[in-house]
Protein backbone atom coordinates (compact mmCIF):
# COMPACT_ATOMS: atom_id res chain seq x y z
CA UNK A 1 0.00 0.00 0.00
CA UNK A 2 1.31 3.47 -0.86
CA UNK A 3 0.67 6.73 0.99
CA UNK A 4 -2.10 7.87 -1.37
CA UNK A 5 -3.99 4.60 -0.94
CA UNK A 6 -3.43 4.86 2.80
CA UNK A 7 -4.94 8.35 2.89
CA UNK A 8 -7.88 7.21 0.85
CA UNK A 9 -8.42 4.29 3.20
CA UNK A 10 -8.11 6.49 6.27
CA UNK A 11 -10.69 8.91 5.02
CA UNK A 12 -13.15 6.24 3.94
CA UNK A 13 -12.56 3.52 6.48
CA UNK A 14 -16.25 2.82 6.97
CA UNK A 15 -16.78 1.84 3.38
CA UNK A 16 -13.63 -0.24 3.02
CA UNK A 17 -13.28 -3.96 3.48
CA UNK A 18 -11.72 -5.03 6.78
CA UNK A 19 -8.80 -6.67 5.00
CA UNK A 20 -7.73 -3.21 3.86
CA UNK A 21 -7.24 -2.22 7.48
CA UNK A 22 -4.49 -4.83 7.89
CA UNK A 23 -2.66 -3.54 4.85
CA UNK A 24 -3.06 0.05 6.02
CA UNK A 25 -1.69 -0.73 9.46
CA UNK A 26 1.31 -2.47 7.96
CA UNK A 27 1.99 0.63 5.85
CA UNK A 28 1.62 2.92 8.87
CA UNK A 29 4.34 0.93 10.65
CA UNK A 30 6.88 1.65 7.95
CA UNK A 31 5.74 5.19 7.02
CA UNK A 32 6.20 7.81 9.75
CA UNK A 33 4.13 10.42 7.96
CA UNK A 34 1.15 8.11 7.56
CA UNK A 35 1.61 6.95 11.14
CA UNK A 36 1.23 10.55 12.32
CA UNK A 37 -1.79 10.97 10.10
CA UNK A 38 -3.36 7.87 11.59
CA UNK A 39 -2.55 9.02 15.13
CA UNK A 40 -4.10 12.43 14.54
CA UNK A 41 -7.15 11.00 12.89
CA UNK A 42 -7.69 8.65 15.79
CA UNK A 43 -7.41 11.56 18.18
CA UNK A 44 -9.92 13.52 16.12
CA UNK A 45 -12.19 10.48 16.12
CA UNK A 46 -12.04 10.28 19.92
CA UNK A 47 -12.70 13.99 20.16
CA UNK A 48 -15.74 13.74 17.91
CA UNK A 49 -17.06 10.80 19.93
CA UNK A 50 -16.68 12.86 23.07
CA UNK A 51 -18.54 15.75 21.49
CA UNK A 52 -21.44 13.47 20.73
CA UNK A 53 -21.83 12.46 24.35
CA UNK A 54 -25.19 13.02 25.99
CA UNK A 55 -25.92 16.51 27.17
CA UNK A 56 -28.04 17.11 30.25
CA UNK A 57 -31.72 17.44 29.58
CA UNK A 58 -33.63 20.18 31.36
CA UNK A 59 -35.70 18.36 33.98
CA UNK A 60 -38.61 20.69 33.32
CA UNK A 61 -38.98 19.06 29.90
CA UNK A 62 -40.65 16.05 31.54
CA UNK A 63 -43.28 18.33 33.08
CA UNK A 64 -43.83 20.02 29.72
CA UNK A 65 -44.32 16.63 28.09
CA UNK A 66 -46.75 15.59 30.83
CA UNK A 67 -48.83 18.67 30.13
CA UNK A 68 -48.62 18.08 26.37
CA UNK A 69 -49.91 14.55 26.85
CA UNK A 70 -52.77 15.75 29.04
CA UNK A 71 -53.68 18.30 26.42
CA UNK A 72 -53.40 15.69 23.66
CA UNK A 73 -55.70 13.40 25.63
CA UNK A 74 -58.29 16.16 25.96
CA UNK A 75 -58.09 17.02 22.28
CA UNK A 76 -58.35 13.37 21.47
CA UNK A 77 -61.43 13.04 23.67
CA UNK A 78 -62.95 16.16 22.15
CA UNK A 79 -62.25 14.93 18.63
CA UNK A 80 -63.56 11.51 19.57
CA UNK A 81 -66.75 13.11 20.92
CA UNK A 82 -67.21 15.05 17.70
CA UNK A 83 -66.60 11.91 15.68
CA UNK A 84 -69.09 9.95 17.76
CA UNK A 85 -71.74 12.68 17.49
CA UNK A 86 -71.16 12.89 13.75
CA UNK A 87 -71.51 9.12 13.45
CA UNK A 88 -74.79 9.14 15.39
CA UNK A 89 -76.20 11.89 13.16
CA UNK A 90 -75.02 10.05 10.03
CA UNK A 91 -76.66 6.83 11.15
CA UNK A 92 -79.89 8.66 11.97
CA UNK A 93 -79.90 10.32 8.55
CA UNK A 94 -79.27 6.98 6.87
CA UNK A 95 -82.01 5.39 8.90
CA UNK A 96 -84.61 7.97 8.03
CA UNK A 97 -83.59 8.54 4.43
CA UNK A 98 -82.84 5.08 3.20
CA UNK A 99 -84.75 2.76 5.45
CA UNK A 100 -88.51 2.88 5.00
CA UNK A 101 -90.73 2.87 8.06
CA UNK A 102 -90.83 -0.40 10.00
CA UNK A 103 -92.62 -3.00 7.95
CA UNK A 104 -93.60 -0.58 5.29
CA UNK A 105 -94.50 -2.47 2.16
CA UNK A 106 -95.13 -0.09 -0.67
CA UNK A 107 -97.85 -2.26 -2.18
CA UNK A 108 -99.65 -5.55 -1.88
CA UNK A 109 -97.51 -6.86 -4.73
CA UNK A 110 -94.35 -6.14 -2.80
CA UNK A 111 -95.88 -7.67 0.31
CA UNK A 112 -96.83 -10.73 -1.76
CA UNK A 113 -93.34 -11.14 -3.19
CA UNK A 114 -91.77 -11.17 0.25
CA UNK A 115 -94.17 -13.66 1.81
CA UNK A 116 -94.03 -15.98 -1.22
CA UNK A 117 -90.24 -15.91 -1.08
CA UNK A 118 -90.36 -16.78 2.61
CA UNK A 119 -92.81 -19.58 1.85
CA UNK A 120 -90.49 -20.96 -0.83
CA UNK A 121 -87.42 -20.81 1.35
CA UNK A 122 -88.86 -22.17 4.56
CA UNK A 123 -92.36 -23.42 3.83
CA UNK A 124 -91.38 -27.10 3.65
CA UNK A 125 -88.83 -27.34 6.38
CA UNK A 126 -91.12 -28.78 9.03
CA UNK A 127 -88.48 -28.98 11.79
CA UNK A 128 -88.48 -25.18 11.84
CA UNK A 129 -92.05 -25.12 13.06
CA UNK A 130 -93.04 -25.79 16.61
CA UNK A 131 -96.25 -27.57 17.42
CA UNK A 132 -99.06 -25.31 18.47
CA UNK A 133 -101.92 -26.10 20.82
CA UNK A 134 -103.90 -22.89 21.13
CA UNK A 135 -103.10 -20.68 18.12
CA UNK A 136 -104.62 -17.59 19.72
CA UNK A 137 -102.46 -17.96 22.79
CA UNK A 138 -99.38 -18.84 20.72
CA UNK A 139 -99.86 -15.64 18.73
CA UNK A 140 -100.23 -13.65 21.92
CA UNK A 141 -97.12 -15.21 23.42
CA UNK A 142 -94.90 -14.92 20.36
CA UNK A 143 -96.22 -12.00 18.37
CA UNK A 144 -98.08 -10.10 21.11
CA UNK A 145 -101.18 -10.26 18.96
CA UNK A 146 -103.95 -12.82 19.06
CA UNK A 147 -104.49 -14.67 15.78
CA UNK A 148 -107.89 -15.49 14.35
CA UNK A 149 -107.47 -18.38 11.95
CA UNK A 150 -110.72 -20.21 12.55
CA UNK A 151 -111.99 -19.59 9.06
CA UNK A 152 -109.47 -19.85 6.24
CA UNK A 153 -110.07 -19.50 2.51
CA UNK A 154 -108.82 -23.04 1.96
CA UNK A 155 -110.22 -26.51 2.35
CA UNK A 156 -109.15 -29.29 4.64
CA UNK A 157 -105.74 -28.09 5.67
CA UNK A 158 -104.24 -29.12 8.96
CA UNK A 159 -101.79 -27.08 10.96
CA UNK A 160 -98.25 -28.45 11.23
CA UNK A 161 -96.76 -25.79 13.44
CA UNK A 162 -95.72 -22.23 13.72
CA UNK A 163 -92.62 -20.03 13.78
CA UNK A 164 -91.85 -16.37 14.04
CA UNK A 165 -89.93 -14.91 11.10
CA UNK A 166 -88.75 -11.45 10.19
CA UNK A 167 -89.53 -9.96 6.81
CA UNK A 168 -88.35 -6.41 6.13
CA UNK A 169 -87.95 -5.70 9.83
CA UNK A 170 -91.50 -6.90 10.57
CA UNK A 171 -92.20 -9.86 12.77
CA UNK A 172 -94.52 -12.29 11.10
CA UNK A 173 -96.20 -15.38 12.42
CA UNK A 174 -95.56 -18.10 9.88
CA UNK A 175 -98.04 -20.96 10.31
CA UNK A 176 -97.52 -24.07 8.26
CA UNK A 177 -100.48 -26.10 7.09
CA UNK A 178 -100.57 -29.36 5.20
CA UNK A 179 -103.05 -31.11 2.94
CA UNK A 180 -101.61 -34.45 2.01
CA UNK A 181 -98.25 -33.70 0.41
CA UNK A 182 -99.12 -30.07 -0.22
CA UNK A 183 -97.86 -27.42 2.22
CA UNK A 184 -99.50 -24.09 2.76
CA UNK A 185 -98.08 -21.07 4.52
CA UNK A 186 -100.20 -18.64 6.44
CA UNK A 187 -98.48 -15.41 7.36
CA UNK A 188 -99.86 -13.03 9.93
CA UNK A 189 -98.60 -9.55 10.71
CA UNK A 190 -99.97 -6.53 12.51
CA UNK A 191 -101.85 -4.19 10.21
CA UNK A 192 -99.79 -1.32 11.62
CA UNK A 193 -96.70 -2.81 10.04
CA UNK A 194 -97.75 -2.66 6.42
CA UNK A 195 -97.82 0.40 4.25
CA UNK A 196 -100.92 -0.17 2.13
CA UNK A 197 -104.64 -0.26 2.82
CA UNK A 198 -106.85 -3.31 2.89
CA UNK A 199 -110.61 -3.34 2.98
CA UNK A 200 -111.87 -5.29 5.97
CA UNK A 201 -113.97 -8.35 5.09
CA UNK A 202 -112.50 -8.63 1.60
CA UNK A 203 -110.16 -11.38 0.49
CA UNK A 204 -107.67 -10.27 -2.11
CA UNK A 205 -106.35 -12.93 -4.47
CA UNK A 206 -103.17 -12.52 -6.43
CA UNK A 207 -100.54 -14.69 -8.05
CA UNK A 208 -96.91 -14.08 -7.31
CA UNK A 209 -94.29 -16.10 -9.18
CA UNK A 210 -96.85 -18.81 -9.95
CA UNK A 211 -97.93 -19.03 -6.32
CA UNK A 212 -101.52 -18.14 -5.50
CA UNK A 213 -101.91 -15.85 -2.54
CA UNK A 214 -104.93 -14.74 -0.55
CA UNK A 215 -104.61 -11.62 1.55
CA UNK A 216 -107.10 -10.20 4.01
CA UNK A 217 -107.29 -8.14 7.15
CA UNK A 218 -109.15 -9.13 10.29
CA UNK A 219 -109.10 -7.39 13.64
CA UNK A 220 -106.12 -5.26 12.65
CA UNK A 221 -104.09 -8.32 11.67
CA UNK A 222 -103.12 -8.89 8.07
CA UNK A 223 -103.09 -12.50 6.83
CA UNK A 224 -101.64 -14.00 3.68
CA UNK A 225 -102.25 -17.61 2.72
CA UNK A 226 -100.45 -19.40 -0.10
CA UNK A 227 -102.02 -22.00 -2.38
Amino acid sequence: MDCATFSSWLENRDSYDLSEADRAMKHAIVCAECKDLLHNDEELERFVTRMFQYEMMDERLVGKIDRSLDSAGLKRGFRGGIAAAFAVVAVAVLFFVFIPGRGNFSSMDEFGQYVVQEHREHGKITPLFEKIGDIGQWGQDNLHHSLDVNTLPAGNIKIVGGRICTIKNCEFAHLLYQDGKQFYSLFAVSGDEIGFDLEPGRIYSLTVSNVKLHVWIKQKMVYALTG
Partner: protein
Protein backbone atom coordinates in the same frame (compact mmCIF):
# COMPACT_ATOMS: atom_id res chain seq x y z
CA UNK B 1 -69.82 3.00 14.88
CA UNK B 2 -66.73 4.84 15.79
CA UNK B 3 -64.63 2.92 18.32
CA UNK B 4 -62.81 5.21 20.67
CA UNK B 5 -59.87 3.33 22.07
CA UNK B 6 -58.35 4.63 25.25
CA UNK B 7 -54.59 4.98 25.41
CA UNK B 8 -53.04 3.66 28.59
CA UNK B 9 -51.08 6.75 29.60
CA UNK B 10 -49.34 5.05 32.48
CA UNK B 11 -48.08 2.28 30.21
CA UNK B 12 -47.08 4.82 27.59
CA UNK B 13 -44.99 6.69 30.12
CA UNK B 14 -43.42 3.53 31.48
CA UNK B 15 -42.29 2.54 28.02
CA UNK B 16 -41.30 5.87 26.54
CA UNK B 17 -39.96 8.08 29.32
CA UNK B 18 -36.76 6.06 29.76
CA UNK B 19 -35.88 7.13 26.21
CA UNK B 20 -36.41 10.85 26.76
CA UNK B 21 -32.74 11.61 27.26
CA UNK B 22 -31.89 9.75 24.08
CA UNK B 23 -34.58 11.59 22.14
CA UNK B 24 -33.50 14.93 23.53
CA UNK B 25 -29.89 14.36 22.53
CA UNK B 26 -30.82 13.19 19.04
CA UNK B 27 -33.07 16.24 18.70
CA UNK B 28 -30.25 18.44 19.94
CA UNK B 29 -27.93 17.09 17.28
CA UNK B 30 -30.56 17.53 14.61
CA UNK B 31 -31.67 21.01 15.56
CA UNK B 32 -28.51 22.44 17.02
CA UNK B 33 -30.16 24.21 19.94
CA UNK B 34 -31.93 23.16 23.12
CA UNK B 35 -35.15 25.07 22.44
CA UNK B 36 -35.81 23.42 19.10
CA UNK B 37 -34.69 20.12 20.59
CA UNK B 38 -37.25 20.39 23.39
CA UNK B 39 -39.97 21.24 20.89
CA UNK B 40 -39.01 18.26 18.76
CA UNK B 41 -39.12 15.91 21.75
CA UNK B 42 -42.51 17.23 22.84
CA UNK B 43 -43.94 16.83 19.33
CA UNK B 44 -42.50 13.34 19.18
CA UNK B 45 -44.05 12.34 22.49
CA UNK B 46 -47.48 13.69 21.60
CA UNK B 47 -47.42 11.88 18.26
CA UNK B 48 -46.21 8.73 19.98
CA UNK B 49 -49.02 9.02 22.52
CA UNK B 50 -51.74 9.44 19.90
CA UNK B 51 -50.32 6.56 17.86
CA UNK B 52 -49.37 4.35 20.76
CA UNK B 53 -51.55 1.52 19.51
CA UNK B 54 -49.38 1.29 16.42
CA UNK B 55 -46.42 0.17 18.51
CA UNK B 56 -46.50 -3.58 17.96
CA UNK B 57 -43.31 -4.61 19.69
CA UNK B 58 -42.53 -2.90 22.98
CA UNK B 59 -38.87 -3.84 22.61
CA UNK B 60 -38.62 -1.61 19.57
CA UNK B 61 -40.04 1.40 21.41
CA UNK B 62 -36.76 3.34 21.23
CA UNK B 63 -36.44 2.86 17.46
CA UNK B 64 -40.13 3.68 17.04
CA UNK B 65 -39.75 6.97 18.91
CA UNK B 66 -36.59 7.77 16.99
CA UNK B 67 -38.47 7.29 13.71
CA UNK B 68 -41.26 9.61 14.87
CA UNK B 69 -38.74 12.25 15.92
CA UNK B 70 -36.85 11.95 12.66
CA UNK B 71 -40.07 12.25 10.67
CA UNK B 72 -41.04 15.36 12.61
CA UNK B 73 -37.65 16.84 11.98
CA UNK B 74 -37.84 16.08 8.26
CA UNK B 75 -41.43 17.24 7.88
CA UNK B 76 -41.25 20.44 9.84
CA UNK B 77 -37.79 21.55 8.95
CA UNK B 78 -37.66 20.89 5.26
CA UNK B 79 -35.40 23.84 4.77
CA UNK B 80 -32.70 21.86 6.56
CA UNK B 81 -32.73 19.39 3.70
CA UNK B 82 -31.76 22.14 1.33
CA UNK B 83 -28.58 22.85 3.21
CA UNK B 84 -25.55 23.50 1.06
CA UNK B 85 -23.57 20.38 0.54
CA UNK B 86 -20.29 22.06 1.52
CA UNK B 87 -18.04 19.62 -0.26
CA UNK B 88 -15.34 21.32 -2.25
CA UNK B 89 -13.71 17.98 -3.04
CA UNK B 90 -10.74 18.56 -0.76
CA UNK B 91 -9.69 16.09 1.87
CA UNK B 92 -9.97 16.81 5.58
CA UNK B 93 -6.64 15.07 5.96
CA UNK B 94 -5.08 18.12 4.31
CA UNK B 95 -5.93 20.04 7.46
CA UNK B 96 -4.50 17.37 9.70
CA UNK B 97 -1.30 16.98 7.76
CA UNK B 98 -0.53 20.70 8.17
CA UNK B 99 -0.32 20.13 11.89
CA UNK B 100 2.86 19.13 13.68
CA UNK B 101 0.76 17.73 16.46
CA UNK B 102 -2.89 17.34 17.28
CA UNK B 103 -3.21 21.03 18.20
CA UNK B 104 -6.48 21.21 16.31
CA UNK B 105 -8.21 19.47 19.19
CA UNK B 106 -7.08 22.21 21.55
CA UNK B 107 -8.34 24.90 19.25
CA UNK B 108 -11.66 23.15 18.83
CA UNK B 109 -12.06 22.98 22.57
CA UNK B 110 -11.21 26.64 22.81
CA UNK B 111 -13.93 27.48 20.33
CA UNK B 112 -16.66 25.79 22.41
CA UNK B 113 -16.61 22.43 20.78
CA UNK B 114 -20.28 21.67 21.31
CA UNK B 115 -21.34 24.78 19.48
CA UNK B 116 -18.90 23.96 16.72
CA UNK B 117 -20.23 20.45 16.46
CA UNK B 118 -23.80 21.72 16.20
CA UNK B 119 -22.78 24.33 13.69
CA UNK B 120 -21.00 21.83 11.48
CA UNK B 121 -23.72 19.21 11.89
CA UNK B 122 -26.27 21.78 10.79
CA UNK B 123 -24.52 22.03 7.45
CA UNK B 124 -24.86 18.32 6.80
CA UNK B 125 -27.88 16.71 5.21
CA UNK B 126 -30.06 14.52 7.43
CA UNK B 127 -29.18 11.41 5.50
CA UNK B 128 -25.62 11.79 6.79
CA UNK B 129 -26.59 13.27 10.15
CA UNK B 130 -28.66 10.34 11.32
CA UNK B 131 -26.00 7.65 10.81
CA UNK B 132 -23.42 9.94 12.44
CA UNK B 133 -25.61 10.54 15.48
CA UNK B 134 -26.36 6.86 15.95
CA UNK B 135 -22.72 5.89 15.37
CA UNK B 136 -21.03 8.40 17.64
CA UNK B 137 -23.68 9.05 20.24
CA UNK B 138 -25.18 5.58 20.58
CA UNK B 139 -22.09 3.68 19.46
CA UNK B 140 -24.25 1.55 17.22
CA UNK B 141 -22.85 -0.95 14.78
CA UNK B 142 -23.47 -0.66 11.05
CA UNK B 143 -26.02 -3.43 11.41
CA UNK B 144 -27.92 -1.63 14.17
CA UNK B 145 -27.92 1.65 12.26
CA UNK B 146 -29.18 -0.20 9.20
CA UNK B 147 -32.13 -1.53 11.19
CA UNK B 148 -32.87 1.80 12.84
CA UNK B 149 -32.88 3.76 9.62
CA UNK B 150 -34.22 0.92 7.52
CA UNK B 151 -31.53 1.29 4.89
CA UNK B 152 -29.07 -1.31 3.53
CA UNK B 153 -25.89 -1.81 5.50
CA UNK B 154 -23.77 -0.78 2.50
CA UNK B 155 -25.62 2.53 2.41
CA UNK B 156 -24.94 2.99 6.11
CA UNK B 157 -21.23 2.44 5.53
CA UNK B 158 -20.97 4.86 2.63
CA UNK B 159 -23.11 7.50 4.36
CA UNK B 160 -21.02 7.20 7.50
CA UNK B 161 -17.83 7.57 5.54
CA UNK B 162 -19.11 10.64 3.71
CA UNK B 163 -20.73 12.06 6.85
CA UNK B 164 -17.51 11.69 8.82
CA UNK B 165 -15.56 13.37 6.05
CA UNK B 166 -17.89 16.40 6.08
CA UNK B 167 -17.99 16.54 9.84
CA UNK B 168 -14.25 16.28 10.39
CA UNK B 169 -13.48 18.69 7.61
CA UNK B 170 -15.96 21.18 9.02
CA UNK B 171 -14.49 20.90 12.50
CA UNK B 172 -10.92 21.18 11.30
CA UNK B 173 -11.70 24.14 9.10
CA UNK B 174 -13.27 25.96 12.00
CA UNK B 175 -10.32 25.18 14.24
CA UNK B 176 -7.97 26.49 11.61
CA UNK B 177 -9.58 29.91 11.47
CA UNK B 178 -8.43 30.89 14.86
CA UNK B 179 -4.91 29.80 15.59
CA UNK B 180 -4.21 32.08 18.53
CA UNK B 181 -4.82 29.53 21.24
CA UNK B 182 -5.38 30.91 24.72
CA UNK B 183 -5.55 28.83 27.80
CA UNK B 184 -5.91 25.63 25.84
CA UNK B 185 -4.76 23.15 28.42
CA UNK B 186 -6.87 24.71 31.14
CA UNK B 187 -9.99 24.57 28.98
CA UNK B 188 -9.23 21.05 27.89
CA UNK B 189 -9.05 20.01 31.51
CA UNK B 190 -12.32 21.74 32.19
CA UNK B 191 -13.97 19.86 29.35
CA UNK B 192 -12.48 16.59 30.52
CA UNK B 193 -13.74 17.18 34.03
CA UNK B 194 -17.20 18.08 32.69
Amino acid sequence: MVALRRVDKKRFKELTYPHLEFLYNVALKYSGNKYDAEDLVQETMVTGYTKFQQLRDEKSCRAWLFTILRNHFLRERKQFLKRPYLDDGSSYLDYISDEKSSGFVDRLIEKDANKELHRVLATISEKFQSPLILYYMEEMTYQEISKYLDIPIGTVMSRLARGKRHLKKGLLKSSGRKKSAGKIIQMMNLIMLH
